[in-house]
């Protein structure tokens, strides 16, 4: 028995994990794919009706709500990840210098990304509250007129971007900081000998050498930003008037709000393809840089 396990360990060790993935991931995705060709409202008496590509044609061709949601998904992802990258690099530079209490400060910066997003969403909900929230008080100190934040169609999505920036800038900073520490010191010494200014060193040496690290951070962050659900659902549920309805939220509403399982599955397959497409695209960009 022991011998047999020993000989086949290559397959036995990953087997439970692979079976689990097949059962809980591969099978559901296949099922969702099949459902995306049907029309079904989860009714027990009316079985799913095969409609071929009708859901896709409908969604891509005639559903403005889908296109708006797709636009918001990209708006949210690009705005949040771009801001997080710039601020994250800046934060990493600030932390890459010795000062008293540095380790404690570094640890505290971890908290936004581990804190339960729904709970944090509730805190921001209170801070964004137009009449009693801290945000309007804070901007009032600088003479800025009160905003309606999440309550206005124009302000809701940018407000959510701000929360995402708060949550995830430290993540980029953390990755960049780890990259900074592992950089070789020779180019910096050479630059110092040549009398380069600190800014020149940053733009010409530090940033180019960090590029692979930064791109990996951007890829990881983009995947998660596209899929953001918790804070949006907790704070606005896609409102007001759909102003924060991203693809993830729309898919959720189609499935669990309207029980249009076919249309929801169609949306999820398209969403899945978009996320995979972004991953492949960013990965290409990374390889292009490495070459």
């Amino acid at each position: 028995m022991n011998r047999w396990i020993d000989r086949n360990i290559k397959w036995l060790f990953p087997l439970p994990a692979v079976l689990f993935i097949a059962l809980m991931m591969a099978f559901p995705i296949t099922y969702t794919l099949w459902m995306s060709f049907t029309k079904w409202s989860m009714s027990a008496v009316q079985p799913p009706k095969f409609v071929a590509l009708a859901n896709y044609a409908n969604m891509l061709g005639a559903d403005a709500r889908f296109w708006h949601a797709a636009g918001r998904t990209f708006y949210f992802t690009i705005a949040a990840v771009a801001a997080e990258t710039v601020l994250g690099i800046a934060l990493a530079m600030l932390l890459n210098r010795d000062f008293p209490g540095k380790n404690v400060v570094k640890t505290l910066f971890l908290l936004p990304m581990v804190a339960t997003p729904v709970a944090i969403g509730m805190v921001w909900l209170l801070m964004f509250e137009p009449s009693i929230g801290f945000m309007n008080y804070a901007i009032g100190l600088f003479g800025i007129a009160p905003q309606r934040w999440l309550a206005s169609e124009a302000g809701a999505l940018p407000s959510l971007v701000l929360v995402d920036i708060w949550q995830w800038t430290p993540m980029i900073a953390l990755i960049v900081l780890a990259g900074l520490v592992s950089l070789p010191s020779d180019p910096f010494e050479a630059a110092a000998v040549d009398g380069a200014t600190p800014l020149q060193v940053f733009w010409r040496i530090t940033l180019p050498m960090l590029r692979p690290t930064i791109i990996v951070a951007v890829i990881l962050r983009s995947i998660d930003a596209l899929k953001t659900f918790d804070i949006i659902y907790a704070m606005t549920q896609g409102g007001p008037n759909y102003a924060t309805e991203t693809l993830n939220l729309y898919g959720y509403t189609l499935g669990f709000g309207y029980f249009q399982m076919g249309a929801a599955s169609t949306l999820l397959m398209i969403f899945f393809a978009i996320v995979m497409g972004v991953v492949v695209f960013l990965n290409r960009a990374r390889k292009g840089v490495a070459a």
């Binding site: 290559k10 060790f13 910066f109 908290l111 709970a119 805190v123 951070a217 898919g251 999820l268």
Partner: protein
């Protein structure tokens, strides 16, 4: 290191000012949550906000009286602990095998779970679990959360196992030791740091998970993120109690992070930076 410090583009004063601004921005919501959790509704409503006020624990008492909050804490704990343990049980051998036998295909299949949007599984799961009468049971939720914990553990452990020198295992093999014995007696005991890293964050991700729980739980199995979300279904939000609930939910995670800071950093940057 000292050289790089000298070439830093900011002068020390600006550096501290910038750090200070960043620090206040990132810490403020936590401070506000904590302060508000001790305030009455009237104190929260007052403008300008009160920095100094007579605090009370009334909100905390209310949280535990109003809902079955104690149960929600227990539910969250059971689900996160079970999903993490099961994730280790499946993930450790798989990660080891992927690392030792270069099974990139299997590794990729498992890691796809970190890319696919979660609701893509949620609809079939919901249909399946409804048929099996498993909605509103803890096992269904644990199974769902395992799709978060197990791939994450694999993601952390593959590079960790890859770094273990092959000679170590070969030496044991020469001594007549079986692969499984070498894994259990040699590899696992020296993998403590990796296992801690993977488990802590897997636990945190499961504890924080909202999307799966909001669909798959019901009155009996509600976890904390779902419970706090239900606060906003009231006509007027009871902000104080909501903030007290937020403190109760986030506190374990925050304390865990402060205590196990080193492991958290390693886990969060896993896959992004080598070494």
């Amino acid at each position: 290191m000292s050289r790089r410090r000298r070439t830093h583009p900011l002068n020390p004063l600006l550096h501290f000012a910038a750090l200070g601004v960043a620090f206040v921005f990132f810490m403020f919501p936590f401070a506000w949550m904590l302060l508000s959790s001790f305030k009455t509704q009237a104190q929260i409503m007052s403008m300008p906000p009160q920095g100094l006020f007579k605090g009370s624990l009334k909100n905390y008492v209310e949280v535990f009286q109003g809902q079955e909050f104690g149960w929600f804490i227990i539910n969250s704990f059971i689900v996160a602990a079970s999903a993490t343990l099961a994730g280790l049980l499946l993930g450790l051998p798989a990660a080891y095998s992927i690392a030792r036998y270069k099974q990139a295909g299997i590794g990729f299949a498992i890691l796809v779970a970190r890319i696919v949007p979660g609701i893509t599984f949620l609809i079939p799961w919901f249909i399946l679990f409804t048929r099996l009468h498993m909605v509103d049971t803890l096992p269904a939720l644990v199974l769902a959360h395992m799709l978060v914990t197990m791939p994450f553990i694999v993601w952390v452990m593959v590079p960790f196992f890859e770094a273990i020198p092959g000679d170590l295992i070969e030496a044991a093999r020469v001594d007549g030791c079986t692969e499984q014995y070498a894994f259990a007696r040699i590899v696992l005991p020296i993998s403590g740091p990796g296992i801690i890293t993977g488990s802590i964050l897997a636990f945190v991700f499961s504890w924080n998970n909202f999307m799966f729980a909001v669909i798959l739980t019901g009155a009996h199995t509600k976890t904390l993120p779902v419970a706090i979300f239900n606060f906003i279904s009231y006509s007027e939000i009871n902000w104080g109690s909501m903030m007290a609930a937020a403190v109760i939910i986030t506190l374990p995670v925050l304390v865990l992070t402060l205590v196990a800071q080193k492991y958290i950093v390693r886990g969060l940057t896993a896959g992004a930076v080598k070494g």
